[in-house]
């Protein structure tokens, strides 16, 4: 009896162990696709991506894998790295601006992410697997962004809590502020015009770089010295010029965000090696923010001048498609939503291309990824497939 009992338990254990090992083996899968855009070189046609435990182990035209590896042949699918939105306000709970002060460099978005925000899901379904949640533009020095995945378990999703330092070298911080006609109140703040914006920035940088007492002075100093990227929301030519001037004055290399008129000074930006994060692009009429000129082919003009550029601000796939239609090359349109934003956010060692050791963040397309009529078949984050779509259909209702 006792023997039978132990045999029973032994058998049960063996069965469990079998399933255990089996399920862990199922975590290593070889995906075969018609085209694989690695973003590190020419596309592989056909190509294979070997994924194990949420990481890419190998990528190539033909990858050697253990004989018992599960193989998934995706047929005529095109694989791309997951898209990266380098400037996004998705997921910020409880407001993205501090309205009582104009300089808040220490404020971090990492503390306020609403992980179940439906906008993550929406971005994910369109192929965006990572985004940089960035503070708003009401403050001259707005705070620090964080880089997060759009799906997965919360503990895994934060891939960089100390992202970029966000400046707003534009008219936004001056909007809505009033002159001091009434007794001082915390709700009355500077600046009330654009000169004030530049002055506050310059004085903050000056204090910080000379070690004078200043809020989060050390943090600003380190950022200017290059510890983290410095992103500046600057759209018009005059703001971009101010940004270049400040960059020279305090010897730091900024990234221009927004940049709706950057195309007008593309050669200068190229010479100063200032990358541009464009977006969101628009096909609508009228003027852009701050009455910038609405040009369709901003991306193409910038890239021809040699400016590094990323597309951001939501709808990355549609933006890349239209940017290509309007004149950006196919390769650069894909790079502008994958590898380029990864490099600007300094997370290219984890995401943005398909190479061994990088996160298994993949988007599978039913055809040419840049055609308007091509649907996304599925989106993978850290080796797990989300947003599976039936052939030409919509998404299943599943909770993440």
């Amino acid at each position: 009896m006792k023997l039978a009992f132990s045999i029973f338990w032994g058998a049960l254990f063996a069965v469990l162990a079998f399933f255990w090992t089996d399920s862990s083996q199922a975590r290593s899968i070889l995906y075969k696709a018609a085209i694989v855009h690695t973003m590190t070189g020419n596309p592989l046609q056909p190509g294979e991506v070997f994924v194990q435990d949420g990481k890419i182990v190998a990528v190539g035209k033909s990858v050697v894998v253990p004989s018992d590896t599960k193989v998934v042949d995706l047929g005529d699918v095109t694989l791309l790295p997951g898209f990266i939105d380098a400037y996004s306000q998705v997921g910020l709970a409880g407001g993205s601006d501090e309205s009582t002060r104009e300089v808040t460099p220490g404020f971090s978005t990492a503390n306020v992410i609403d992980w179940k925000d439906v906008n993550f899901r929406e971005a994910l379904a369109e192929g965006t697997t990572t985004l940089a949640a960035s503070p708003g533009t009401q403050n001259v020095i707005a705070g620090i962004s964080c880089v997060i995945k759009t799906a997965g378990t919360a503990s895994m999703r934060m891939i960089q809590s100390d992202g970029a330092l966000l400046l707003s070298l534009c008219s936004d911080p001056a909007q809505g502020n009033r002159s001091r006609s009434r007794p001082d109140s915390i709700y009355i703040r500077q600046p009330t015009n654009r000169m004030g914006v530049v002055w506050i920035l310059r004085s903050a940088f000056d204090h910080a770089s000379r070690n004078l007492p200043f809020e989060s002075g050390a943090m600003i100093r380190e950022s200017l010295q290059g510890k983290r990227p410095v992103f500046s929301v600057s759209r018009t030519t005059y703001d971009l010029n101010s940004l270049l001037a400040l960059g020279e004055e305090f010897s730091f290399s900024p990234v221009a965000v927004g940049g709706h008129e950057a195309y007008k000074m593309a050669p200068r930006l190229s010479k100063a090696k200032v990358p541009v994060i464009l977006g969101p692009l628009s096909t609508g009429g009228g003027q852009g923010p701050e009455e910038t000129e609405p040009i369709w082919n901003q991306a193409g003009i910038l890239s021809r001048a040699g400016v590094e550029l990323a597309l951001a601000g939501g709808n990355l796939l549609t933006q890349a498609r239209f940017a290509h239609r309007f004149g950006l090359t196919r390769e650069l349109a894909l790079k502008a939503v994958t590898r380029q934003p990864a490099e600007l956010l300094r997370v290219a060692d984890r995401i943005g291309s398909l190479a061994p050791g990088l996160d298994a963040d993949l988007v599978a397309f039913d055809g040419d990824p840049l055609e308007f009529t091509t649907a996304i078949r599925w989106v993978m984050v850290d080796g797990i497939i989300y947003e599976q779509q039936e052939e030409g259909g919509s998404n299943e209702e599943n909770d993440l």
Partner: protein
């Protein structure tokens, strides 16, 4: 002798008339392209013959009249011009403050100089139903017009295209009050219709009376699914020839709409997400897929052109979006040509390339709905109204200033 002379003179006169008419006739031939007629199989390397603004022949081996102007469309795609079924973008203001104005007509509000018309022509739209906006109860009469021309009077295809009715209550009002007020107006119109012999109707009520009699259609805007039932009921109660203009939440009533057998005009937002307020689960809604599965024929609206629109301000892009979510290309193209023409009751004139129809034609650089395909030429009533090569606005959008 006299008789012979008379006959000769008659013959001569006939001949002169014929010569005269053929000299005055505007003849145009578009040859060499792939023709998607929307009324049968595509014709490769076919020819479209046009005379006096009308299509006279479409086919493979047609003789081109010697005096015809010829457009060589070799390697290009020739299609009927697109038909937009519901838009207020051509109007200087989409709604009157007074919510009960059946006697107004959009004809007085259309500004042919608006940027809308250039955008329409450069994106292949040749016909548009200009209809008052949704912020109204009875918003006035719409008109179907062409997109080429300087004066509205020269552009109009159908003057009384239908009366706009909205079931969305205004501002603070309730649906109870809104529907009651609407029914009251329709009851009065019905009574006027029944007493028509008693003299000419009140000019202020004329349009409403012909709508109740089914002479002109009613564009009925439903904001949410709950508005669909009253819309169908109103159509039945007052013999309305209804055209349903749907808000995006109306997809929940797709099967009821299917039963009614009518085609619909979808909201401009074709894909969106919903969060269940109770369970918190998120769901992606694809309108084209839902209505296609329910068996409801549909056409599209475009989004108002603002700084945040990306693609969905173009009718062709809406069709491409439908294809992305599983609609066959042919069906999607019909949904921006022949189907909206049918919905508006102008398919005798536009919507396909067939002899006798208006020569409203768009020549595309390649297959429709592809990323690299552009409108090369747009023709309205046999006249070229848009050429990409001469589009300075487009050049500027693509190359910037001083480039």
């Amino acid at each position: 002798m006299k008789k012979t002379t008379f006959r000769l003179m008659l013959r001569g006169a006939c001949f002169l008339l014929w010569v005269g008419s053929s000299l005055g006739a505007q003849e145009l031939a578009i040859k060499g392209g792939r023709i998607l007629t929307m009324a049968g199989e595509p014709i490769d390397g076919g020819t479209v013959l046009i005379r006096d603004g009308k299509i006279t022949a479409v086919g493979e081996k047609l003789d081109i009249p010697i005096d015809a102007m010829v457009i060589d469309a070799t390697g290009k795609t020739i299609m009927p011009g697109f038909v937009e079924s519901h838009s207020s973008a051509a109007m200087s203001q989409s709604n009157e403050t007074n919510p009960n104005v059946p006697y107004l007509t959009v004809m007085d509000s259309i500004d042919p100089m608006r940027a809308y018309f250039h955008d329409a022509r450069s994106n292949g739209v040749t016909t548009v139903a200009v209809v008052p906006g949704n912020a109204t109860m009875i918003g006035g009469q719409g008109a179907v017009i062409k997109t080429g021309g300087t004066f509205v009077e020269d552009m109009v295809l159908m003057r009384n295209a239908g009366v706009k009715i909205s079931l969305k209550p205004l501002n603070e009002a309730s649906r109870m009050g809104h529907l009651a007020a609407l029914r009251l107006e329709l009851d009065q119109a019905k009574k006027l219709l029944d007493d028509e012999d008693d003299g000419p109707p009140d000019p202020k009520k004329e349009a409403l009376v012909s709508m109740v009699g089914g002479k002109i259609p009613a564009f009925i805007y439903c904001e949410s699914a709950m508005d669909v039932a009253p819309a169908l009921q109103l159509a039945a109660d007052y013999d309305l020839k209804s055209i349903l203009v749907l808000g995006r939440k109306c997809y929940l009533a797709a099967s009821e709409i299917a039963e009614s057998g009518q085609p619909v005009i979808l909201d401009s937002t074709l894909v969106f997400w919903e969060t269940d307020p109770r369970t918190g689960s998120d769901k992606k809604i694809v309108l084209t897929k839902i209505f296609q599965e329910a068996g409801v024929p549909f056409t599209f609206q475009v989004a108002a052109s603002t700084t945040s629109t990306l693609g969905n301000n173009f009718l062709w892009y809406q069709a491409a979006c439908a294809v992305k979510y599983g609609m066959p290309v042919q069906k999607a193209l019909e949904a921006i040509t022949l189907l909206p023409a049918r919905i508006l009751g102008v398919d005798k004139f536009v919507g396909s390339l067939e002899p006798g129809k208006d020569a409203d034609i768009v020549i595309l650089t390649g297959d429709p709905l592809l990323l690299d395909t552009w409108v090369e030429t747009t023709i309205v009533g046999g006249k070229v109204v848009y050429e990409r090569g001469k589009d300075r606005k487009l050049k500027r959008l693509l190359n910037g200033v001083n480039q």
